[in-house]
C-alpha cells in the first residue's frame, strides 16, 4: 500500500494548488463514491452479521415451550383421565412406567419393565394385579413379585397430584 502523492492528498483536502480552478479532479469523485459505497456495504455487512448473532441469542433466551428439563419428575396425565381400577403406560425419562389408579382411588406408579426379561407389564383390572404377558409374571399392587418367573419387585415411584395433574417422581 504505497502512500498517496502529495497531489492527491491535497486533492482530498479539497485543495488543488496545481489544478485549473482549485477543484479536485474527476478521479477524486469516483474515489469518494467508491468509498461511500464501501462504507455502506460495510455497515450493512456488520449489521447483517450482528443480526445473525443476536437473533439466535434472542431466541435462546426466550423460554421454550417445554419449560423444564424435569426428568426426575414427570407429569403423567390428568386424574380425571384415569378411570378407577385402571392403569396406563407413561414415559419416565427414557423408560416406560405404569401408572395405576386402584379401585379405591389410590394412585400408584412403578417401573413398567418386568424384572424377568424386560417385557412391558400391564394392569389386570379383574385380578387387581400387575401382569407380564411374556411368561405369566405377576406383581401385586405394592410392586412385589408374587407369581411366575420375575425375581425382583418392580421399582416403585412416588406419586403426587398438583391439582388435576399427576406428577410421578423417583422415590
Amino acid at each position: 500500500m504505497k502512500s498517496e502523492s502529495n497531489h492527491e492528498a491535497d486533492a482530498r483536502a479539497g485543495e488543488c494548488a496545481n489544478c485549473p480552478n482549485n477543484k479536485p479532479p474527476q478521479a477524486e469523485y469516483e474515489t469518494q463514491g467508491r468509498r461511500k459505497f464501501l462504507n455502506y456495504l460495510l455497515g450493512t455487512g456488520f449489521g447483517a452479521t450482528a443480526i445473525a448473532i443476536f437473533y439466535p441469542i434472542l431466541k435462546f433466551i426466550t423460554p421454550p415451550r417445554v419449560i423444564e428439563a424435569a426428568q426426575n419428575s414427570v407429569s403423567a396425565g390428568k386424574v380425571s383421565e384415569l378411570a378407577l381400577n385402571s392403569g396406563k403406560i407413561f414415559k419416565f425419562g427414557n423408560k416406560p412406567g405404569i401408572l395405576i389408579r386402584s379401585a379405591t382411588g389410590e394412585l400408584k406408579a412403578f417401573s413398567a419393565v418386568c424384572t424377568h426379561l424386560d417385557c412391558i407389564v400391564q394392569y389386570q383390572p379383574e385380578k387387581k394385579q400387575i401382569w407380564c404377558a411374556c411368561h405369566n409374571g405377576q406383581y401385586n399392587l405394592s410392586g412385589q413379585n408374587v407369581g411366575g418367573p420375575p425375581p425382583r419387585p418392580l421399582e416403585e415411584y412416588v406419586v403426587n397430584t398438583r391439582g388435576e395433574e399427576i406428577v410421578v417422581s423417583k422415590a
Binding site: 452479521t49 448473532i53 439466535p56 441469542i57 431466541k59 435462546f60 433466551i61 426466550t62 421454550p64 415451550r65 417445554v66 423444564e68 428439563a69 424435569a70 426428568q71 426426575n72
Partner: protein
C-alpha cells in the same frame, strides 16, 4: 451533529478522549514475525465468546448430579438455538486454548518476555493455568460418563503428589470421591472463582501490554521499522480474524456438533479408551509411558513432579534466560523446539495409540 454532541457529553463525564488519544497513538511494528501479534487478541476474542455463551448457558443449566445432564440435554433439544450456543461454547474453549498455546510459544520464541516485560509474561503463565482450570472444571459440567471418568482420573493424578496431594484431591473433589459435591464445586470454580481471578489478571496483562507497547525480536531492536497504526489498520485486521473465527465456530457447531454422551453412573466401570481433552493428552500419555517404578520411586509421582517443575521453569523463564548470551539464547530456543515437538508427538500418539 448529534454524535459529536453525545461524544462531548460523555467525554466530559468519563474522560474518554484521553483513552481515545492513547488508542490512536498505539502503533504496531511491522516485520517478518508480525503475524504472531494477532494471536493474543484472538485468544481474548475467543475468551469473550466463552463468557457470552457461558452466560447464556447459565440461564438453563442446573449444577446438581441429578439434573445437570438432563439440563444440558434440554438446552440441546428444547431451547431454540441451544445446540448452537452449547456447541460454540465447547468448540471455542478448545480453539481458545489452542490460540493461547500459539500465543505463548510465539512470545517465547520471540523472547518478548525480556526486560521490561517480565511481569507481563508472569501474568500470561497465570492465564494459561486459569484457562486450563476453566477447561478442566467446565468439562465435568455436562455430567456424562466421559467427563466423570476424566475428572476421576485427573483428580486422582493430582492426589498422587506427595504431601499436598491428598488434601488437594479432597479440596478439588469436595470429598473422597467424585460426586455431586464435586460437580457443584467445579461449577462454582467455573462460573465465579475463575472468572473473577481471570478478569483481574487479564486486566493486568492488557494494561502492561499497553504500557510497554508491542515488543520486537531482539535482532530488530533499535532498527527503524515500519509501523502500522493500531486504529484503524491493525484493529481492522484483527477484526477480520475475529469474523473468520465466528465463521469457523459456526461451521464446527453445525457440522461437528458437540456430543452429549450418556449420563454419568458412579457405579459403572470406566468405558474403554477414556482420555482427557487434547491439551492434557501429552501429559497423560507421558505418565502412561513412565515405568511403574523408577529406581525406588513411584513412576507416576516422578512424572507429576517433573511436570510441576517444568511448569515452574516456564513461569520463571524471563529470569533464567539472558538475551545477552548467545549460547543461552540458542539453548532456550532448542529447549523450546524440543518441548513443542514433544507436545505435538505425544498428543498424536495419544490419539492414535
Amino acid at each position: 451533529m448529534k454524535t459529536e454532541n453525545i461524544t462531548l457529553w460523555l467525554d466530559d463525564r468519563l474522560g474518554l478522549s484521553a483513552i481515545a488519544h492513547l488508542a490512536r497513538k498505539k502503533e504496531i511494528p511491522i516485520h517478518r514475525h508480525s503475524i504472531w501479534y494477532y494471536f493474543g487478541g484472538m485468544t481474548l476474542f475467543l475468551f469473550s465468546v466463552q463468557v457470552g455463551t457461558g452466560i447464556l448457558l447459565l440461564l438453563y443449566y442446573r449444577p446438581s448430579a441429578e439434573t445437570a445432564f438432563e439440563s444440558v440435554q434440554f438446552i440441546v433439544t428444547e431451547v431454540q438455538f441451544g445446540w448452537l450456543i452449547r456447541s460454540v461454547h465447547s468448540w471455542s474453549a478448545n480453539l481458545m486454548i489452542a490460540t493461547l498455546f500459539i500465543h505463548m510459544f510465539s512470545v517465547y520464541f520471540m523472547r518478548s518476555y525480556r526486560r521490561p516485560r517480565e511481569v507481563t509474561w508472569l501474568s500470561g503463565v497465570l492465564l494459561l493455568l486459569l484457562a486450563v482450570g476453566f477447561g478442566f472444571s467446565g468439562y465435568l459440567l455436562p455430567w456424562n460418563k466421559l467427563a466423570f471418568f476424566a475428572t476421576k482420573v485427573g483428580t486422582e493424578i493430582a492426589g498422587v503428589v506427595p504431601v499436598v496431594g491428598r488434601p488437594m484431591l479432597r479440596f478439588l473433589r469436595g470429598g473422597e470421591d467424585v460426586t455431586g459435591a464435586t460437580l457443584t464445586r467445579f461449577f462454582g470454580f467455573h462460573v465465579a472463582v475463575l472468572p473473577a481471578i481471570t478478569t483481574l489478571i487479564i486486566g493486568i496483562h492488557l494494561a502492561l501490554v499497553q504500557k510497554h507497547g508491542m515488543s520486537v525480536p531482539a535482532s530488530l531492536e533499535g532498527k527503524d521499522l515500519k509501523k502500522m497504526k493500531f486504529i484503524p489498520g491493525f484493529f481492522l485486521r484483527d477484526l477480520i480474524g475475529w469474523v473468520l473465527a465466528i465463521g469457523v465456530l459456526a461451521a464446527l457447531a453445525a457440522i461437528f456438533p458437540w456430543e452429549l454422551g450418556e449420563k454419568a453412573d458412579a457405579f459403572a466401570s470406566a468405558p474403554t479408551g477414556i482420555r482427557p481433552e487434547w491439551y492434557f493428552l501429552f501429559m497423560f500419555q507421558t505418565l502412561k509411558l513412565i515405568p511403574a517404578k523408577v529406581l525406588s520411586f513411584d513412576g507416576e509421582v516422578l512424572g507429576i513432579l517433573a511436570f510441576t517443575v517444568g511448569g515452574l521453569l516456564l513461569f520463571i523463564v524471563p529470569f533464567l534466560d539472558d538475551p545477552a548470551k548467545p549460547r543461552r539464547r540458542t539453548l532456550f530456543t532448542v529447549i523450546g523446539v524440543i518441548v513443542v515437538l514433544y507436545i505435538v508427538v505425544l498428543t498424536i500418539v495419544g490419539y492414535v495409540g
